[in-house]
Symmetry: C2
Subunit: 413 residues, 2 copies
């Protein structure tokens, strides 16, 4: 069943934001068995929105629309939808009440621009928004049911998953199944080489690759005569992929790398602490993006040398003799934070994130990371390519991967 | 001058890759003075490519196309372009030679699928590819000149910058100017209310709003008879916007909130440290996303109570009497980290990020943040709505804003 995606917003056509909504919706619709025949983005221009809705509504059974439902004057989607469907815009009292309640529960007051968000096309089916003020709605335009959702991803995604997808799913020809495997520690080209031949050995299977630095996803997509057959084929192919890539596959589906690493620490029954210099708190931030209070004691961000000495007990001799960016200091930081927080494992990072601070012998991108644990202290180093952000993210992931390998008993590399 | 962008590739409509080409091209075209009226992505389907090219060619002067020029059977763009322009596909000998040379220089051999890349629409102007085998080309389709480029970003970007942009730039009407103001601490709807009437008072100016939690951008876009007139009008309107929004406008253009806050600390000549509980290192991470070693000493992530006591010297009596999430503990954390790092300012956050851990008197979302400075210690609190991520980000921004106000001498709120 074909479906169209339409994003409304001048910030997209001007290139000010990446339309990640479209990618997410494309993935969701494809996995549900729809074929996305067009993904369009247009500016907040009333006539053009009306014309585009009419054209897409004439040629599709489903049109999925995001954006332009906000409270400001440049939000024109509801009005355009009404015109495209030849109906009036009417104020919906229930929606008005819901907006008022939401604002009041957050200590905000209702003003006329919020009231505008209750003006919806006559006859539209309202899709309540649990995560924002603007409701979504469904409306018949031409041959299509068009579903209108806010452009804010946090509001759009749950609205699509909980309200739109259940309504349209029965129309999908769902004879496909996809498994997404998450890989850290191999380049996309190396993954491709390792998986050469897998598609040929598994008819109906296509492999897709998606790099999102510093990880890569492998998508095992299977088509078959039925959903259950597709499911089985995908499972078999995914097992082969996992066997070929080994422990570089750290998870699948909704798994996130810091979450998987934290789970490994928890499962081992360890308590841990983190000492960060160039990553400035990123490792702690990543770990605590998921509940972590049962295994993470805390740690130190020791940006200045004085902090390394005072907080972690790094010896001034070590700092003078080897420099703050050295294997010796990384080891003393990991051991120091472990001692300071009285716990089983200490993780430490010190490096030169750039853009300045590099020298001939210690270039920008040079990072040392260490894990101190009951079996000893391991230090690794690398010169990471890329800008400040990339060096910091690459360093944080490298340290988390060493931690994962230590606590899960995987080979260190 | 309007322009359309079309990306061809099933990997995009299936959501397997993010169409970053479109964002990049939108930015380039917008800065060159074009107005991008539509950004479309369609699958590798011959008839649909032909129809879309005809439709876009009828309505635009320029159509910028990426993708589908590769050597495999699913690359159909050249054939579709020829059909849309009603011309034949002919093999171009110079292109064939260039492909052969490129492959041979890399030790590869020419095969029939590579030869296919030399089959181009009759009458097309060829755009040589310095970074890959597939050449680009320009072709008249309807009212438009359509420029076809490979989808690989490292081939497409130089081809656009060096060959396409110089050809189309003279047609751009560069009589627009845009100023982006960054706002923290006001809701989009409140900003909209405060700015009601600004557009009416400044003919040629449109205001745009973009929420990226917890900030909001106000885009002051001006159109006029000339670029310099547009520039002046935008400046005047931006000054009015800034006057109306006051110190909620923290910066403009490339400014980022943590960078602006760090700059304020640096300008005051202060050194600082951060103590974080529920935000787990996020404040430090945000500050150190920009060079910070000249003002940030470091800090502590004190997730467990034991870490609050051992690292920061928070009194056990205070923890017992008021709980870890309390104004008293926030103050002692800020004072403790300031003492620990021997610096001018200490920032601290303690709260309940959720999803669990809330009680009737201390619900999920309750956060205390404190700034200890030479003039005293200020503590603020709020129950932030939203999920774990939102609470953490909102708390980090609130603490950074208090820090900014303290060091810059702005009113505390």
């Amino acid at each position: 069943m074909p479906a169209a995606i339409l994003a409304i917003g001048t910030e997209i056509t001007r290139g000010e934001i990446v339309n990640t909504n479209a990618t997410w919706l494309s993935t969701e619709l494809t996995s549900a068995g729809f074929s996305v025949t067009t993904v369009e983005s247009i500016p907040d221009e009333l006539d053009q929105i009306v014309d585009t809705l009419k054209r897409l509504g004439a040629a599709h059974r489903f049109v999925i629309v995001t954006g332009g439902l906000g409270p400001t004057t440049d939000d024109l989607t509801a009005l355009a939808a009404a015109r495209a469907a030849n109906v009036d815009l009417v104020r919906d009292d229930n929606t008005l009440l819901a907006i008022r309640r939401r604002l009041e529960s957050r200590g905000a007051v209702m003003n006329p621009s919020n009231e505008k968000q209750a003006d919806l096309p006559a006859g539209a089916e309202i899709l309540p928004n649990q995560n924002g003020t603007a409701p979504g709605f469904a409306l018949t335009i031409g041959n299509a049911t068009a579903y209108f959702m806010p452009g804010v991803p946090k509001e759009m995604k749950p609205m699509f998953s909980e309200q739109v997808l259940p309504r349209i799913r029965p129309s999908a020809s769902n004879n496909a199944h996809q498994i997404v495997l998450h890989v850290y520690g191999m380049r996309e080209s190396a993954i491709g080489e390792a998986l050469a031949g897998v598609e040929a050995q598994h008819p109906g299977v296509t492999l897709g690759y998606r790099v999102h630095f510093p990880e890569c996803d492998v998508k095992v997509h299977a088509h078959a005569g039925s959903q259950s057959a597709a499911h089985d084929i995908a499972q078999r192919a995914a097992a082969v992929v996992k066997a070929k890539l080994g422990d570089s596959v750290y998870g699948e589906g909704d798994d996130a790398f810091p979450e998987v690493v934290g789970r490994a620490v928890r499962n081992r029954g360890y308590h841990m602490a983190v000492a960060e210099s160039c990553t400035g708190g990123l490792v702690s931030h990543l770990l605590t993006s998921y509940p972590a209070s049962d295994y993470l004691i805390g740690g130190a961000v020791t940006y200045a040398n004085s902090a390394k000495t005072r907080l972690l007990g790094v010896a001034e001799d070590t700092l003078r003799g080897h420099g703050a960016v050295s294997a010796e200091v990384a080891a003393e930081m990991a051991e120091g934070v472990r001692r300071l927080c009285e716990c089983d494992v200490g993780v430490a990072i010190t490096g030169i994130a750039g853009p300045s601070g590099g020298t001939a012998t210690k270039p920008v991108g040079l990072v040392y990371w260490a894990v101190s644990h009951p079996g000893g202290t391991i230090v690794k180093d690398r010169v990471f390519p890329g800008d400040r952000d990339e060096v910091r993210v690459a360093a944080a992931y490298a340290a988390l991967d060493l931690l994962r390998r230590v606590v899960a008993g995987l080979p260190i590399r």
